[in-house]
Structures are given as structure tokens and as C-alpha cells.
Amino acid sequence: MNVTIQEQDGNMVAILVGSLDTAAAAETEKALSPLNDVEGKNIILDCTDLTYISSAGLRIFLAILQNAQEKGGHVYIKGINDSVRAIFNITGFSHIFEFI
């Protein structure tokens, strides 16, 4: 699992590549922790190359969302493939996040 965070057009963009399974969750959470300090910017989770997301991965996404919402920010999910979208649908998380 590979995570890159960069600023693009005034948004903080986290690019996730690989499979966010249970084993990779702790490492990914650590890699995404800088997003907790983001203020006044929207966060985009770029999942174009994310092949799988586990329940542990969804909890990380949710924690980022709740943190951003407390600060008045938005979290957008970008470019998820069909299998990851199916997981979002099954878990009902497709109603929680905004997709671009």
C-alpha cells in the first residue's frame, strides 16, 4: 500500500495505491495522519488506484471525515473502481461520503 499526500489547487490530495486491507491499515493510518492537521482546505482521497478497502480502511476514512467536518472542511473521494464502490455500497458508506 502506497500513500502520497500533496497539495493541488488549494486542496489536500491523498493518493492511495494498492490494497487497503487489514494488514495495511495501521501503516496507512500513520501515513494519512497529516490530514488530521489540515485546516481551511478540502481533502480529496484519490482512490483511482485503490484495489480494495477493508473495514479497517473504511474506519480510517471515516476518522478523516469526522475530523474534517469538525473543522468545517469537506472530504471527497475521487475515482473509485467498481469493486471498491461495491464495498462502499454494502457498508452504507456511499451515503456518508461525497464522491467526485
Partner: protein
């Protein structure tokens, strides 16, 4: 004044007191909501005070082996319930039929098959709890299935000579009279035909079965039910904590295990978040878990049966009881006492659970019905009724056979099937010989008719076993039972005359 000197319409004073008592008792049971046990005790008191029965006879019901065996079987069944045996049977043997018709067939056929070689009382005692759990799963009121259960055991018992005591009595008396033994499967074909007609009739007249909300028994209340509830993706508390969703502290059940859609286990903590596709395993009272599912829009998943050491032990105890009594090594009463003791010894149920499982009201009613049967026998009401009807029947053998079977079916509603079999054997045998016909077919028809008591709950111990769990009223049995009595009587006479054509005596 001599009681026997006062005879009116062929019945003496004691017989009339018994008739009036029985009719009054039925009227009270049908038209008032007085407790059945109280009504029966009142009837016993009248028969005792008026001298119809002496003290020993009046209270003989409380020491009757058939009454005591039911009480002891309640404890055996408690052991089976609390160790998950009944739950296992529901899940693996009865399954999940799609319609009421297939549920009735799926229940009645195996029950009838088991009853054809095991004691009907044992089979029904075992299945009452099973059917209650099953009906909850199917969303059918238990009252729609418990009467068919009891009827199936009665009709199944008739299918072999060893299936029910009246068959043994009648065949034994036949052997004594003729020196010829009846084949153990003599009643199989007629019995199966009547069973088939019986199942079709239950399905056809299912509207006559009440749709009662049966009371949750004390024993069921304490039974640990374990079921998985699934969180739908549209649930309003998705991504919220389980505590906030009010699904953590639930009265009557507790959360045992929790896993997300990817099988990742979730710690049992009220601050954990819910996701669609979560599987929540709750244990506790059936009612509490079903209500939790309804109130929170959760999907009721599979019932989880915790099969373990206790399950195997209690199943073995039950099997040993059934085999030892079926092989005649020991009477059912003794076997049941040993099995009940073993259930307690091996901690399949606690002494408290065992005592709570015994339904004392039912035992009281059953004891009362035994005493009532005794009064009817003692005062000669049944014989007089049969001979009175024979006088107006003429010489047509089918009419005579039908008339005696009709009276037999009627009388067996009040007295035990075994007593009815013994009482009606000489009447049927003599009537057949007098008409110049071989008594064999007449006796086969008699066997079926004395076991066809469908119209009152006191007609059979198995009816008493389903009476309280089904939440039935006295009149419920009459509504479908009277019709069943007539249908089975017609089926009985038809099939017996086809399978065993009447032959003149050589």
C-alpha cells in the same frame, strides 16, 4: 335407598349424575373463561361428594402413571431445550418451508412416522418445544401447528399394532378369542390412508385452527436463543456508534460477537461504529432478539445453535429413554424418571429450570380427565350407549360397524383410548359374530376409531401437552375436531371395507 334401583332411560342415578356433570363441565369450559383446572377439580368434587366415586377413585388421577409420565417428560424436555437439542432439530430437520401447507406436511409426516413405533406422548412432548421455536422462525402462530402435531401423533400411532396401547389391547383380546395373532402391520394401510386424509383435511380446514398469540412459557423465557442480526446498508445509524444506536445495552439479550462485512472481528464495546453488512450475534430471550431486530430494522439471520458437550449428553439421554422403553426393557414411566434425573445430574438443566418447566395446570386438567373417564366407565354409560345404538342399527354390517365406531370415537373423547379399546372390543366382536361376519375387519376399524379423538383437549394426553403452549381454548379443539372425527370415521370405514372386505363366518 339403593342407587341401582333408580333407573331412568337405562341409566342409574350415578350415571345420570356423571352425564349431567360432564355436560355442565363442557358448557362451562365452552362458554366461560374459567380456568380449566378449576372446572375439572369442581367436577371431581361433585362426583366424589355425590358418591359416584369413592375417595380412592376420585383422586386416582393424581397418581395415574399417564399423568405422572407427562410431568416427568416436562423435565426431560427442559434438558433438551436448555442444551440446544431442540434448536438443532428445528434448524436441521424441519428447515424453512415456504408455505403453511408444506410446513404441515413437513411436520406431520415425521411425527406420524415416529409415533408409529414410539409412545405418542413422548413424541409430542419432544416436539412441542420444537414446534414453538419453529413457528416463530416461520412467522406462523404456534396454535396453527400444535393441533396438527397432536393429531399426527394419534394418526401415526394407529399405523402399527405397537404404535398405540389400544391396538395392542384389541389385538391381544382378538388372539385370546380366536387363537390367531394379528400381523403387526395389520393397521398400516388403513392407518396411512387415514393419515393422508387427515393431513389433507388439516390443510383444507386450516382456517378452523385458531390464530392465537400463545403465551411465552417460563421455560421458553429462560431458554438461551442465539441469533445473528445483520445491519442493512440503509440503516440509519451507519457510521455511528452501536451505543448511540441503542443496540448495545438491550434488555433480555446481549451482544456476544460482532464482525464487519470482511469478517474482521469488532471488539464488544459501545463506542465501536456500525457498518452495513455487520453481523451481530446476540444471545438471550427469543422475544427480545426478535423485537430488537424489528425495532432497529435489522435483518434476522441464521439461528446459531451452540452444539457442545451438553447437547450430546442430553440427546443421548433422550435416545436411551426412547430405545429402552420402545424395546420394552423398562416401562416409559421408569425410563422418564431416570432420564429426568440424568438431565439434572449432567447439568443439562438446573433444578430451577426443571421445576419451572413442569406445567402444573395441565397436569391438574389431565388428572381430572382421567377421573372423569373412570366415572364414565364405572357407571356403564359407554356400553349402554353402544347397545342402545345397536338396537336401532338393523342388520347391515357396514351400518353396525359405523355405529359402533361412531360411539367409540365419541366415548374416547372422554375416557382413555386404551380403556375405550378394551370396553368396545366385546361389543364389536359380538356384534360382528351375531351378524355372521368375521370380526377381523370390524376390529381394525375399531382400532382406528378409538384412537381418533380430535374434538376435546382431554381426548388424548398429547392434546393436553399442546393445550397450554398453543394458547388454546376448549372450543378450539371442537371446531376442527368434530369435523376431523367425521372425516376420519368415513375414511376409516371406507378403507377398512376396501382392504379387508367383509367375509361371512365359516
Amino acid at each position: 335407598m339403593e342407587v341401582d334401583s333408580l333407573v331412568f332411560w337405562g341409566f342409574n342415578l350415578h350415571a345420570w349424575i356423571t352425564i349431567v356433570t360432564v355436560l355442565s363441565m363442557f358448557t362451562v369450559l365452552l362458554f366461560t373463561k374459567l380456568r380449566a383446572d378449576l372446572v375439572f377439580l369442581g367436577a371431581i368434587a361433585i362426583l366424589f361428594v355425590t358418591g359416584v366415586l369413592d375417595a380412592k377413585e376420585a383422586f386416582s388421577g393424581f397418581s395415574s402413571p399417564s399423568v405422572v409420565v407427562i410431568g416427568v417428560l416436562f423435565v426431560v424436555v427442559a434438558g433438551l431445550t436448555h442444551t440446544g437439542v431442540l434448536q438443532w432439530i428445528v434448524k436441521n430437520l424441519l428447515g424453512q418451508p415456504k408455505s403453511y401447507c408444506s410446513a404441515v406436511a413437513r411436520l406431520m409426516l415425521p411425527v406420524a412416522a415416529l409415533s408409529s413405533f414410539l409412545s405418542n406422548t413422548t413424541v409430542v412432548a419432544l416436539f412441542v418445544g420444537i414446534v414453538k421455536m419453529w413457528s416463530k422462525k416461520l412467522g406462523i402462530s404456534p396454535s396453527k401447528l400444535l393441533i396438527p402435531l397432536s393429531y399426527a401423533s394419534g394418526m401415526g400411532g394407529v399405523c402399527t399394532l405397537i404404535g398405540t396401547p389400544p391396538n395392542l389391547i384389541i389385538s391381544g383380546l382378538y388372539t385370546d378369542h380366536t387363537g390367531n395373532a394379528m400381523n403387526v402391520l395389520a393397521t398400516t394401510l388403513p392407518g396411512l390412508f387415514c393419515l393422508f386424509i387427515g393431513i389433507l383435511s388439516i390443510i383444507a380446514f386450516r382456517r378452523l385452527l385458531p390464530d392465537r398469540k400463545a403465551p411465552e412459557s417460563d421455560s421458553e423465557d429462560t431458554v438461551e436463543y442465539t441469533a445473528e442480526l445483520i445491519v442493512p446498508s440503509t440503516h440509519q445509524f451507519i457510521a455511528k456508534t452501536i451505543g448511540k444506536a441503542n443496540m448495545f445495552h438491550v434488555e433480555g439479550c446481549r451482544l456476544l460477537k460482532w464482525r464487519h462485512f470482511d469478517d474482521a472481528p469488532v471488539p464488544i464495546n459501545e463506542n465501536e461504529i456500525l457498518m452495513g453488512g455487520d453481523h451481530l450475534l446476540y444471545a438471550g430471550r427469543t422475544k427480545a432478539i426478535i423485537e430488537l431486530a424489528k425495532e432497529h430494522g435489522l435483518i434476522l439471520g441464521d439461528e446459531v445453535v451452540n452444539v457442545g458437550y451438553g447437547t450430546a449428553i442430553s440427546a443421548l439421554i433422550m435416545l436411551a429413554m426412547v430405545v429402552v422403553s420402545a424395546l420394552g426393557i423398562m416401562p416409559l414411566l421408569q425410563c422418564a424418571f431416570i432420564a429426568a434425573a440424568a438431565m439434572l445430574l449432567f447439568r443439562c438443566c438446573s433444578p430451577h429450570q426443571a421445576m419451572k418447566a413442569i406445567n402444573w395446570d395441565i397436569l391438574m386438567v389431565f388428572a381430572g380427565s382421567v377421573v372423569l373417564g373412570l366415572a364414565i366407565q364405572k357407571t356403564g354409560i359407554a356400553e349402554r350407549l353402544a347397545f342402545g345404538i345397536l338396537d336401532v342399527c338393523g342388520t347391515n354390517p357396514i351400518v353396525v360397524m359405523t355405529a359402533i365406531c361412531f360411539v367409540g370415537t365419541f366415548i374416547t373423547e372422554f375416557i382413555s383410548n386404551t380403556a375405550a379399546g378394551a370396553m368396545f372390543f366385546p361389543i364389536m366382536y359380538e356384534a360382528a359374530e351375531k351378524l355372521g361376519y368375521e370380526p377381523y375387519p370390524f376390529l381394525i376399524a375399531l382400532m382406528i376409531s378409538v384412537s381418533s379423538s380430535f374434538a376435546t383437549p382431554i381426548g388424548s394426553p398429547t392434546h393436553m401437552l399442546v393445550y397450554a403452549p398453543g394458547g388454546y381454548r376448549f372450543s378450539d379443539f371442537m371446531r376442527i375436531g368434530l369435523l376431523m372425527n367425521i372425516i376420519i370415521l368415513a375414511a376409516n370405514i371406507f378403507i377398512v371395507s376396501v382392504v379387508y372386505p367383509l367375509t361371512p363366518l365359516q
